[in-house]
Subunit: 429 residues, 2 copies
């Protein structure tokens, strides 16, 4: 065989002409989106993904669990695994859920303060800057000796927050809202004009150091500069209030940032969304993209029952189940397995009025063996009349490796759900 090589293109490539700019993918999805009469359910078993280890006979909790109802769904579903952010990146709940909601977590970043504030049920306004805070113990020289003030009881935290709130309502023109969380945790919201984050943390991240002065992340940003000054003034006002408290005579602040601009879920997907979550953090994340929070249900069975009642009122249901993550964090294999079995037992309630499109997945993995969030792609099951079948008898991590969805970025899940809901017009002729 003889190759005639014509090196025609051995010149520098011309820059893409303005006419040939690659189309923005979100714009394309948006352009193709049709309104259909379909019901979509995104069911998140928080931290679902796990690792097979020798200690557990090479079975993950999902693989070890008895899940007859998931099994039935599995056969007529597409399977795959999802990368929450990027290879090797372990996401917090914020980026994990933003990805599931179809927002690129590298494009839409939400400060910890904002997430905590939303989680505590605070209604944020545009321009609000939030900080996650916790009480700490300082020595006479202002050195942090306990970053969590011995994990004081929630009641003590509430008392101290009331004290601070009574003394500090404003700094200059800026309104200050302080709200207690659990144990040593609280949030501070600054509501005023011309404020912006993100700032560096007022937290040495370890004991034995003083609280560092916060700085703008972008030295040229005047609104961040103003905000940094405000934090310094807040410390000046607040530390004397706590001076005689024991052990909580100081506090640290982290994730100081404003609520980012996020396009509303309903505008972006033409789906009216509802959130059925129990824990505040997930309600807060749903609220951030404009989902309606449905309050009341405390168990997954109650959440599914409520879904049945609300069926006609919404197009999209985000249903959040916390316990898979919780027991993963605890390193409790049996409990995580049981949490999956409890979920499976409740699943038939949802299926009484089967959504047209069902996605069951996690926001990330929380392997029992790691006792924390991880970067490992979580398994996902997608079921609809057009999902096809991957001929898998069960929904598992190892099975999902073989699925037709392969490994993909979480942010595309909602696009696949929309496609399964026949919400996209054909692209091109």
């Amino acid at each position: 065989m003889i190759f005639m090589r014509h090196r025609l293109n051995r010149i520098a490539l011309a820059p893409a002409s303005p006419q040939n700019q690659r189309m923005n993918l979100d714009a394309l999805y948006s352009e193709l989106t049709l309104k259909t009469k379909t019901k979509l359910a995104l069911i998140v078993l928080d931290g679902l993904g796990d690792l097979a280890t020798k200690e557990q006979n090479y079975l993950t909790p999902l693989e070890a669990a008895h899940t007859p109802n998931l099994d039935k769904l599995a056969k007529n579903s597409a399977h795959g695994r999802m990368i929450p952010v990027a290879p090797g990146i372990t996401p917090g709940s914020g980026p994990g859920h933003l990805g599931l909601f179809g927002y690129d977590p590298l494009e839409f970043q939400v400060g910890r303060g904002v997430i905590e504030a939303l989680g505590l049920g605070l209604e944020l306004k545009p321009g609000d800057v939030c900080a996650r805070a916790n009480f700490a113990t300082l020595d006479a020289k202002g050195i942090v000796t306990d970053r969590r003030a011995g994990r004081i009881a929630t009641e003590v935290c509430e008392k101290l927050v009331a004290l601070l709130s009574a003394k500090i309502k404003k700094i200059g023109d800026t309104q200050v809202i302080i709200k207690a969380g659990k144990e040593h945790r609280f949030v501070v919201v600054f509501r005023g004009k011309g404020l912006e984050g993100p700032l560096t943390d007022a937290d040495p991240n370890r004991e034995g150091f003083a609280i560092p002065t916060v700085k703008p992340r972008d030295a040229k940003n005047l609104k961040q500069k103003k905000m940094a000054k405000l934090i310094a003034d807040f410390y000046k006002a607040a530390l004397p209030v706590l001076a005689k408290e024991k052990p909580a005579n100081g506090f640290l602040m982290r994730g100081i940032a404003h609520q980012p601009h996020i396009p509303l879920f309903e505008d972006r997907y033409l789906l009216k969304p509802a959130c059925l979550a129990v824990y505040p953090m997930y309600k807060g994340l749903a609220q951030l993209v404009g989902m309606i929070k449905i309050e009341g249900p405390q168990t997954i069975a109650e959440q599914f029952e409520r879904y049945l009642k609300e069926y006609d009122n919404y197009d999209f249901f985000f249903i959040h189940y916390k316990y898979t993550d919780k027991y993963g964090e605890d390193g409790n294999f049996a409990a995580k397995k049981k949490a999956i079995e409890d979920f499976d037992a409740a699943l038939p309630i949802l299926l009484k009025k089967k959504p047209d499109v069902i996605a069951i997945t996690g926001d990330h993995s929380t392997p029992v063996s790691m006792k924390g969030h991880s970067w490992h792609p979580q398994p996902v099951l997608l079921h609809s009349t057009t999902s096809g079948s991957d001929k898998l008898e069960r929904f598992t991590e190892t099975g999902a490796n073989l699925g037709s969805l392969s490994v993909f970025d979480s942010k595309f899940l909602i696009r696949l759900m929309q496609a399964n809901a026949k919400m996209f017009d054909k692209f091109g002729a």
Copy 2:
């Protein structure tokens, strides 16, 4: 296990809002990187990947080989396949290894001249322009009649290079450094001011044509223009020196380019890297990103023994094994299989001090049936306490297709290795 975490890279991130520009992924990895006390080993069986063909009973060399030690590792590892550059692109050793080192081969391009020069142990300075050259035979009219001058012996090459070096030390203000390689190969380094590549090749790529005049790749680049003139002047000075030699009375020059700016491996990953390679090319590639070259070992067993001795001195070990590629290029199935078995037999030496994270892969595929590099994704095995198990009993191409790592770009391997070394902080709350 105790981690010493130094938050060295906690520098400002580009503000996400209000434009919500997508964050640069390398910047995110950098921001999240923690220093941990872990040892990472990247073990490259050059050209490892292969194709199953009917002629070999549908077994690849890796599948046909007896590999008890790899098998043991396989069960407790994650598996996948890697795309070196892009679908369908066959990489040379340069892009293949840059990808493995975590540098996008489309972003960081290295001229062949630079790679050859580094491979011959030349210490390059910023601004040096290098050319890969080989002696050739020209007829009376200057037509190339043998592009390799009959593959002259290395000693003859060395003699000719000495001749050229004696006669040509400078061209104008530019210093000229000429160094012999193996057989007909040599490199020329131009050290001066205001020089730049890349240029087109002084090589017709086939016999029967004259040596083409080199041109700037970018016609508007004045430094490239100056460099092109310098090459022409070098030919004017050098060809008369060789005029009476037989058969090497001429030479061709390719890959004329300067050393690109590449961020140092240690700065990029917070890992102190060492290179244990035998062949100059791979030492050169490692040196390009700032790895320390450990000289001495000649066999894979010796390389592993040396790893044991150097264990405390470095965090990251790049261990390169050439023979899988060599025998793939030869089209010798039995020899490639045997090379894998030899590697496997030496593996227990490495495991005496087991690295915390082990990646075993190739830089690309070199299928025996193709006798050359190819674009087929190479298999990769990733082993650590957090790699999980894909329940695979062996490390093979077909098995890797089922793995949890799926098919991914080579440049992410090091990020997964870092994740497995717990070197990334959580992203977001």
